[in-house]
Amino acid sequence: MTTATAPAVTDERVIRTNPFIAMLRRPEVGAAVAALAIFLYFSLSTQAFLTPAGVSTWLYSSSLFGIMAVAVAMLMIGGEFDLSAGAMTGTTALIVGVITTQWGVNIWLSLVISLAIALLVGAGNAFIVMKTGLPSFIVTLATFFILQGINLAVTKLITGTVAIQGMGAVPGFDQVKVIFGSSFPFLGMNVKVSVVWWIAFTALASWILLRTRAGNWIFAVGGQMTSARQVGVPVMKTKTGLFMTTAGAGWLVGMLQLFDVSTVQATTGIGQEFIYIICAVVGGCLLTGGYGSAIGAAIGALIYGMTLQGIVFAQWDNNWLKAFLGGMLLLAVLVNLYVRRQAGVRS
């Protein structure tokens, strides 16, 4: 058995594909090409885009969307959606803001409490989806509205306003700010620490998806849940982990925003849940699950962040962003459809 095949596995029945063509088939490459085009366009057409200040602005913007997009991409590969992901960034930040400024809870403890609540909501989403078999789209839509309502109502009830004030005066704020809200000089830019979190999270997610058992299970439960169950994949555990990861990422982004600007609005994150999904799809995720990549989703977020800021730099009407977003999504879905057909999935 050992001598039958040469170590370099080549077979005359496999057409030697051009490495360039083979590369184009990877889920994230289409998005990378688009990102490069957008980068070049705004670099050449606006003054501010390529300046150190400009770069750090769109990198920061991309990083916040990117962390969520990567988490949502993993969830989508696992065959589920989470529409409560955006509101979750607001909920977690509001919890920390309210209990530290109003009740004087220790700031470190408040971080743990808000993370625990986020994870609990994620687990709750998973539990309802898995036990009832209802589409996660509906279940998390409900969670989204519940969180949105609570964010506004409870914040108003306790603080009397719809925003958290006086975060900066909370003892220990500066220490936590180092972790979530600081920035550091890099190549003349003032890079926000959230960019580091984004890159680290994307790398970790890629590692998990491609090189661990859990990653194999994520692709399997999204691709063909009954098959995965039949061969002994812990479906419930995998999906619960995914929902909790998404909620946990919502907490991270909530903290990154809160400690950057020292305030949080009760409406934070509302309406962003679809942007995460769009970033993931632009990055090569299939809406039907079982296929996609974390790096692709990160690139999808980069495209969004660059466009968001590029449009501002170019002084266009901000509404063009939405039209652009729709166009990108349509294009990405068409490319995905093509890829799926090329993959030749039968039956």
Partner: protein, 265 residues
Amino acid sequence: MTEPIASAAPPILEVRGIGKSYGSIIALRDVSASLGVGEVLCVLGDNGAGKSTFIKILSGAHEHTEGTLLAYGKERTFGSPREALDIGIATVYQDLAVVGLMPVWRNFFLGSELTRGVGPFRRLDVKGMRRITKDELAKMGIDLRDVDQPIGTLSGGERQSVAIARAVYFGAKVVILDEPTSALGVKQAGVVLKYIAQARDRGLGVVFITHNPHHAYPVGDRFLLLKRGTSLGEFAKNEITIEEMTRLMAGGAELETLAHELERA
């Protein structure tokens, strides 16, 4: 398990008067059969004969409500497919339990992945899994072009064979095949029959469910005939001819036309 079995050794799998009812519906009643090492037990029956119920009992998907199920001479009741799997009874379902978009090697090891390293550095042994997949498939006589291609791109027969090879590699002593040839063309079905013979020659017990006597007869050692939820008997190969089998399965009325049809095939 490797030494030749003495004639007194109990069969790997045996059922005595087994039955299953769902509420007031009797799906299966009083079926007895046995399977030894290196044997192929063919379960034949027309649609609705109770074949599916029978394999669901053997594979642990449903518990039987009557009779006894013995594995290695010990009485058992399987609460889940996992329990059956743990004592070496693997089922290859009609949908093959594969994930179409995933590469062949990831499918081969799905749920039982090989890893290296410890703690947070525990990672998939990608090289090892690729190599073993290629080797194991070669042992079944499948020479795969590329184990990295999505399994959805393989032909039905090839996918069937990958599923069998996977069951064998993971220590199955008994492989239950649910209609593996029903969706296949003549040539592909022949390929799968060859793999069944190969698995048998490697000392496995094979339960082969089919409604086609022409597929069953060449590879089968014993034949269990089901009709309308009950057994028409279990026969050794020398006790029954293919014509008799067909006649029993189909019943008198349909015999004329069926025989006619088969002769021309």
